[in-house]
Symmetry: C2
């Protein structure tokens, strides 16, 4: 039995952000499974079977990968960004935990990648330069009340906040509610970054004040980052830099 | 004037985790500045000057990089991990904001890298698979009371928590206090990961329950990740997998 699974992060889109470790795993693989647009990034070659599947079938995809590895195949599970951040690694381990015990003998590795919030942060400056949190705004798998609770506590903690999946397909009004709540908690005068399709030809960055932010500034390909109370804008001819200093003053608690 | 600055993330240590974008910048650079062990990772070559400096001189290093770029040199500022997470990007922008206005005309890019928490998370499974926060436990630049406040609120939010710089040189007892506080907030029965020197030959991973965690399990090269209330351990012959499922039950708020 020489099968394995590598749950691999392809990064945000630019091939220069794919690690050599992931490239090597793809070279050795017999099969790649993943969401259609991610699998589309893999170059076809002899001996490699591409299994593209639709969104929201993560568990079925994970079971498929585990079954193939148990049959001796070398399977890359392709995620965009980092597979451990709101992506396929957790889904695969959910399937592993529920599945037959012999799956626990499989060789399973997670290969990290450049996650969307860090690609977006790099393009804008360093808005996540000090303490921060990452919240998935989709309420497909958790109650909306939990999202609101986390927003309240994150604002009280004065974290910078990175938001994945800002506009849920199931409930598109959620992001408008989140913005309203954040304005109440943080005030209007707080910079917020909308970073769409970072590192791809469709890349578009926009920084506005929270008071001016509207739900239509985000879509399914947008990463949203809200600054902390310490986050600053540096105005430059080439465009602003958004960053959070490393320090907090005495008395900040 | 063709100078530039690339604030580049070298990842956690393994060369296979350095992105091609960073490798290309190093190929084009005339100068590299950084903390001694990070600069030691750069292969010397003709035409490249390595400027290694001690820890805790981030602002001086940033000024040096800006001055050289203003003189037309092509400068890589080397960070381990990702430069935007508790690293050199924020320090450089602090220096830029304080410095002469002509520095704002410089070509400055941030090149993301694999940050320590995601490298550690990948090795252990997917403990950051759902909402999480990242907190720098060093109180060199912020009051300890703010750290404690953030720990309390993060526990209430039920975030998984990634801790950078768990043992501050200036106040080594801080981590013991953090562990005591976290036990009070989260109980003893919560898995915590100590991941030292991930992806290097010195790599060592250890997962214990919070009730068994002791301060000496971490040093300056250790990344610490505490699970949320949902984080699970899968027992396997090859070692446990630590992961946080994607879902939270109704009523979790």
């Amino acid at each position: 039995m020489s099968g394995w699974i590598a749950i691999a992060g392809l990064g945000p889109g630019d091939e220069r952000l794919v690690t050599p470790e992931v490239t090597a795993a793809l070279t050795e693989a017999t099969d790649v499974v993943g969401y259609i647009p991610y699998v589309a990034r893999i170059a076809p070659r002899a001996g490699l079977t591409l299994h593209a599947s639709d969104n929201r079938v993560e568990l079925e995809r994970a079971v498929h990968a585990l079954e193939m590895a148990a049959q001796g195949r070398r399977v890359v599970v392709a995620s965009s960004g980092d597979p451990g951040v709101f992506a396929m690694a957790a889904a695969l381990f959910e399937a592993l935990e529920e599945g037959p015990s012999h799956w626990r003998d499989l060789d399973i590795r997670v290969l990290p990648g450049i996650t969307a919030m860090l690609a977006a942060s790099a393009r804008a400056g360093a808005p996540l330069g000090h303490d921060f949190c990452a919240i998935n705004l989709s309420d497909n798998l958790k109650p909306w009340a939990l999202i609101e609770k986390r927003l309240r506590l994150a604002a009280e903690a004065d974290f910078a906040m990175a938001f994945y999946n800002p506009r849920s397909q199931a409930r598109p009004e959620g992001f408008a509610r989140a913005l309203d709540l954040l304005r109440t908690l943080c005030g209007d005068d707080r910079p917020i970054l909308f970073a769409r399709a970072v590192s791809t030809p469709q890349e578009h960055l926009r920084i506005v004040m929270l008071g001016e932010a509207t739900p239509d500034m985000a879509d399914m390909r947008t990463m949203v980052i809200l600054g902390s109370s310490r986050t600053r804008l540096i105005v430059r001819p080439a465009g602003p830099i958004l960053y959070t200093p490393r320090s907090a003053p005495e008395g900040a608690a």
